[in-house]
């Protein structure tokens, strides 16, 4: 049976921005945070980072991080987000101890496929499946074997 999704790829834009941020404000960005995709139509993506200390990964619905929630605290270097509804989500790394901001914010926008499109594919799939069933069940091969 097949594996489900493509392997994550590094986004050159994100990497460039991270480098830029580091050179422009020395000392403020001690960690780089990136996502494997910034626009998702399925509501799942992976956040990856490099940091020298244990981090707290937070998520917010607005760029000001007013209502931020903690997703993870520890020394792993990645986290899978999934099951997100439509919307824009903001992420950043803070230090696990002091709450000091460690990374540039990252924004991921989720926009699920339209239900109409989903149902259209469902219908096509159903038609192919039922036709195949019909072919096998009702073929006129019964009388053809002579041996």
């Amino acid at each position: 049976m097949p594996d489900p999704g493509p392997a994550p790829r590094v986004r050159p834009v994100a990497a460039a921005l991270a480098v830029l941020a580091l050179t422009m404000s020395p000392g403020a960005q001690a960690a780089t945070l990136e996502a494997d995709q910034y626009a998702s139509s399925e509501g799942f993506y992976q956040l990856r980072w490099e940091a020298e200390e244990p981090v707290r990964l937070v998520e917010a619905r607005s760029p000001g991080f007013v209502d931020a929630e903690t997703l993870y605290t520890g020394s792993d270097s990645a986290h899978v987000v999934s099951g997100k509804p439509d919307g824009s989500f903001y992420y950043r790394l803070e230090s696990a101890e002091g709450g000091q901001v460690l990374s540039e914010p990252v924004m991921v926008t989720v926009r699920h496929h339209s239900l109409g499109r989903a149902l259209a594919f469902f219908a096509i799939g159903a038609i192919v499946f039922v036709s195949t069933l019909g072919l096998i069940a009702f073929s006129s091969s019964g009388s053809d074997e002579r041996r």
């Binding site: 049976m1 097949p2 594996d3 489900p4 999704g5 493509p6 392997a7 139509s41 399925e42 509501g43 799942f44 992976q46 990856r48 993870y72 520890g74 020394s75 792993d76 270097s77 990645a78 986290h79 899978v80 999934s82 099951g83 997100k84 509804p85 699920h112 496929h113 339209s114 239900l115 499109r117 989903a118 149902l119 594919f121 469902f122 096509i124 799939g125 159903a126 038609i127 192919v128 499946f129 036709s131 195949t132 069933l133 072919l135 096998i136 073929s139 006129s140 091969s141 053809d144 074997e145 002579r146 041996r147």
Partner: protein
């Protein structure tokens, strides 16, 4: 990739488990291989396999590392429709049941799916089919080899190249020694190990955490996973069903079993195997949904299965997962090695190179091809290029484009070569295009639909009716079997 600090098990424990099972499988391979001197014994277990072993081998072979690893991954990514959609892969097995019976009746001396396509549609269709089939087989082999290395590394810390090499060597070893009988015999044991292991993990997850808690935790943290109207999930359903049908209908892994089962067994074995396989991705996937309730961090989606098992069961859980995954990998790898080697020997070596080869000669060549395939797989796994595993996602469009050429070829006299060829070519192309335009979860569906249209048009426009008697070729002369 492993972004977790430590592996879950001690490497020594890992080596012990691997060594113990390796010894068992190799011994059984040698034991069951005694007396497999004839070609039909070696490659098709004498064409007399019974219902119990037949059912178990079909079920176990379809449980790959993907079932135990990707089903949880899909549940974590796509939720309930991910789990259920994955279990629709059982439909392929069940639908193959009537095909298995028909194949056995129409081609009692046949060896491969390639034989069928050649006799049914002619050389051009045959060669296109062989390209698809061999690319798929190699892709599957490589994905299994890589999965073995990655999993063993993640669970035990044993380096990727060691784990990958051990798995490939063991499977090549006992397949080589024992042929198809070793494959089928070990599959039975591996089936039991997979099922029992899964029950233990699932029951413990339920009693430790509780289904209610799991449900409410997911609803709070990852709500779309429980959404029955999640669009990507809905698109995934029939795509996965058709991908599964395509994989099974065309691949010699399943055709070789149809030829190996005793008459009358195929239909029952495949139906029962499908029914027994169907709940496995659901139970395995469900385990992944415990993540929010367990407050577990998942760094990479493909690690969710083992991580939850280890959290729930500790070291014992990790050992259990190692045994289960090792069994799942072995039961698929041995079948792949055996079936692909027959395909290469029959459709490439015998039909293209040495038409007059004797059965005894082919038996010897088969052994070499098994080794060769093992080496080739190892070489492709060694650089650990992630994109090689992605090959398998692409194959969705290709294999799904063979569904109607195969099914119509077996059941409809009016299906012709032009319909089959255009079905495979245009179906594959359309599927690949949709893979990039929309996503991996529609490629097989589009491939199957376009292919079906081509075959149907061919049937409407064509007028020739195929004579089923042309599928019955004269068999190879061997000691102890009817010609």
């Amino acid at each position: 990739m492993n972004a977790v600090d430590d592996a879950i098990l001690d490497p020594t424990v890992g080596w012990l488990v691997l060594a113990a099972f390796s010894v068992i499988w190799i011994f059984l391979g040698w034991f069951w291989g005694r007396g497999s001197d004839q070609l039909d014994d070696y490659v098709l277990a004498g064409r007399r396999v019974g219902l119990a072993l037949g059912t178990a081998t079909a079920m176990a072979t379809w449980v790959t590392s993907n079932t135990t690893m990707a089903a949880p991954q899909l549940a974590l990514q796509m939720g309930v429709w991910g789990m259920f959609g994955y279990s629709l892969g059982a439909v392929g097995l069940i639908m193959f049941a009537p095909l298995a019976g028909r194949i056995r009746r129409l081609m009692p001396t046949g060896y491969t799916s390639g034989d069928f396509v050649r006799l049914r549609y002619g050389k051009t269709a045959w060669r296109i089919f062989l390209v698809i089939s061999l690319c798929y087989s190699l892709g599957w082999l490589v994905s299994m080899g890589m999965a073995g290395g990655v999993l063993i590394n993640a669970l035990t810390g044993i380096p990727y190249h060691y784990g990958m090499s051990v798995i490939l060597t063991i499977c090549v070893g006992y397949t080589l020694l024992g042929g198809f009988r070793a494959v089928i015999g070990t599959d039975f044991i591996q089936a039991l190990l997979i099922l029992v292991g899964l029950v233990i993990i699932a029951v413990l997850a339920i009693t430790t955490v509780g289904i209610d808690t799991i449900h409410s935790a997911v609803l709070e943290e990852r709500p779309e996973l429980l959404n029955l109207l999640m669009p990507a999930g809905i698109m995934f359903l029939f795509n996965n069903l058709l991908f599964g049908i395509g994989e099974i209908f065309h691949s010699n892994v399943w055709w070789s079993r149809a030829f190996a089962f005793r008459p009358g067994v195929g239909t029952k074995a495949y139906t029962l195997a499908g029914l027994l396989w169907a709940p496995i991705p659901i139970v395995a996937g469900f385990v992944a949904l415990a993540v929010p309730a367990l407050d577990l961090n998942i760094p990479a989606a493909d690690m969710v299965g083992p991580m939850v098992a280890a959290t729930v069961l500790g070291t014992a859980g990790a050992v259990l997962v190692l045994i289960m995954v090792f069994s799942a990998l072995s039961s698929s790898l041995d079948s792949l090695l055996a079936a692909t080697s027959i395909l290469v020997v029959e459709d490439i070596y015998r039909r293209h190179i040495r038409q007059d080869a004797s059965a005894a000669h082919l038996r010897r060549v088969t052994a070499w091809v098994i080794v060769g395939l093992g080496v080739l797989t190892w070489l492709l796994c060694a650089p650990r290029i992630a994109t090689l595993a992605e090959l398998l996602y692409f194959t969705g469009a290709f294999v799904a484009s063979t569904i109607w050429p195969i099914a119509a070829g077996l059941f409809a006299r009016r299906a012709g070569a032009l319909g089959a060829i255009s079905g495979m070519v245009f179906g594959s192309a359309a599927g690949i295009a949709s893979y990039f335009a929309i996503g991996f979860y529609v490629a097989a569906l589009v491939g199957a639909a376009v292919s079906m249209a081509c075959v149907l048009i061919g049937m409407l426009l064509g007028s020739r009716e195929f004579d089923w008697g042309r599928l019955h070729e004269r068999g190879l002369v061997q000691a102890g079997s009817p010609a």
